[in-house]
């Protein structure tokens, strides 16, 4: 009976202490995770570097001009602007080649 009493005492103290310690650790982990939340990496824009002699407004104007020029080029390349459908006209190289095929390299007999 005495040994059972000791056993019960050990169980109560032991399990109590184990629960207490692990509950404390659970609390600590909760706090740790709460206060150490991984913050989203904020990608701060680096300080703009302007080419020498240009300020932000001039740079913006250049950028707009470049964009407009690209738009014009794009429009010129559009099907509506073309006189011939793509592939219907041979390139210059092909034209020269065909011309050469039509003329012979041998001397003209009639002239001799």
């Amino acid at each position: 009976m005495e040994s059972l009493k000791i056993g019960i005492q050990l169980t109560v103290y032991g399990m109590g202490l184990v629960f207490l310690l692990l509950a404390l650790m659970a609390f600590l982990i909760t706090m740790l995770v709460k206060f150490d939340r991984s913050e989203p990496v904020s990608e701060k824009p680096s300080a703009p570097r302007y080419p020498a002699g240009l300020d932000a407004d001039a740079l913006a104007a250049v950028a707009i001009a470049v964009a407009m020029h690209q738009a014009v080029l794009r429009k010129e390349a559009a099907p509506a602007m073309r006189k011939h459908m793509p592939g219907t006209l041979p390139s210059r190289w092909v034209s020269v080649g065909r011309t050469l095929q039509n003329s012979t390299w041998q001397p003209d007999r009639r002239s001799s």
């Binding site: 059972l4 050990l10 169980t11 650790m25 995770v33």
Partner: protein, 372 residues
């Protein structure tokens, strides 16, 4: 110089039925390791150690023999189990536990087997230190069992280590019937959502340090166990010592496991092992496993009650130290009832909590018994 025929046969002449029986036990352990693949990393060296130590006039167990040297070098001074703990810490990812800290409580509940078995052992007539050593089988943690039993009852080290490791491999057989008996089908099918919480590297590094400081300050007897476990984890999570992490979890852990197995096997001598108390240890050991599982399940049922039916009680069975077997068993039993229920990561959290809890319980037990 004359050589007598008797000298050549002195090995056979010194063979006893007890040593033959122990050689058979060693062969059985090797059979379990090789054929059944029950914890082969430990049972194979233990079995070989038992055979080599029980061969008649074995020089390996003589003073300064190999086993004597291994025992003095790493078992008597508790070095080997602690080195194994560094390896375990280096291999363990506590992330699932950090994501869900309340699982820590399941780890605590899963240690009831230690104290329940201690009470039963006391009732069976074992003295307090012996009963505590038998109870520690309920930690379901080999190195903890070896560490505690070697401090409290070194003469019972062999049977306790063999019982702990043998039953540990039987977790997939021991646990499911208890899990099904103590939970209803409806409880087993409870689905639990996962939180998408990111655990920062800083938290992962602070965690082992915090555990060492808190547990070490409150239970100094647990410092060797928790300190080495968490140190191994710190190596892993720091991310700056890849080679040390690799060495701890591979080379050191493997070498020490080999030495520990042989040294423990060599303590299984016929005169100490073949006693009625070994049978009692085997019986109480399986009871300890059952009590752990039952207590974990009942506590998880309580948590389910408190959370108004949102907590799957099966997770309680994972609050033991057998990692990752217990978590896999929980997933498997849950999966049998509901094919789309994935409890694995929750169970991993409870399982890692069980690892910490078993170490803490071992330290608490030593502190309560006033071992220095």
């Amino acid at each position: 110089m004359s050589v007598s025929f008797e000298q050549l046969l002195q090995g056979l002449q010194n063979t006893s039925p007890g040593s033959l029986l122990m050689i058979a036990v060693g062969c059985l352990l090797i059979y379990l390791a090789v054929v059944k693949e029950y914890e082969p990393m430990l049972l194979l060296p233990i079995g070989a150690g038992a055979i080599l130590a029980n061969l008649p006039l074995s020089p390996m167990i003589a003073q300064d023999g190999m086993f004597d040297v291994l025992k003095k070098a790493g078992v008597d001074n508790e070095l080997f189990p602690l080195l194994v703990f560094i390896g375990i810490g280096a291999m363990t990812d506590f992330g699932p536990l950090l994501e869900n800290p309340r699982m820590m409580l399941l780890g605590a509940a899963g240690q009831f087997g230690i104290f329940g078995t201690l009470m039963l052992a006391l009732l069976l007539g074992f003295d307090l230190n012996e009963a505590a050593s038998i109870g520690i089988i309920g930690a379901i943690d080999g190195p903890t069992s070896i560490y505690v039993s070697n401090l409290l009852a070194p003469h019972m080290l062999g049977p306790i280590a063999v019982t702990a490791y043998s039953y540990m491999s039987l977790v997939p057989i021991i646990q499911p019937p208890i899990m099904r008996a103590l939970t209803s089908r409806r409880e087993r099918t409870i689905r639990m959502p996962y939180t998408s919480r990111n655990i920062s590297r800083r938290t992962r590094i602070i965690f082992p340090l915090a555990v060492i400081i808190v547990v070490g300050s409150l239970v100094p007897m647990a410092i060797p166990l928790i300190g080495t476990l968490m140190f191994g984890n710190l190596l892993r999570e720091s991310g700056v010592v890849e080679r040390l992490t690799g060495a701890s979890s591979n080379e050191i852990a493997n070498i020490v496991t080999l030495f520990l197995g042989l040294a423990v096997g060599s303590t299984m001598r016929a005169e100490t092992f073949l006693q009625i108390q070994t049978l009692a240890i085997l019986g109480l050991g399986i009871l300890a496993f059952g009590l752990d599982t039952a207590a974990g399940l009942l506590f998880a049922k309580f948590l389910n009650l408190m959370s108004k039916g949102r907590f799957n009680p099966l997770l309680g069975a994972a609050g033991i130290s057998a990692f990752p077997m217990a978590a896999r068993v929980v997933q498997k039993v849950g999966h049998e009832e509901d094919f789309e229920n994935f409890l694995l990561m929750h169970a991993m959290g409870a399982n890692t909590a069980g690892q910490i809890a078993s170490v803490v319980a071992g330290g608490v037990l030593l502190a309560l018994l006033g071992t220095h």
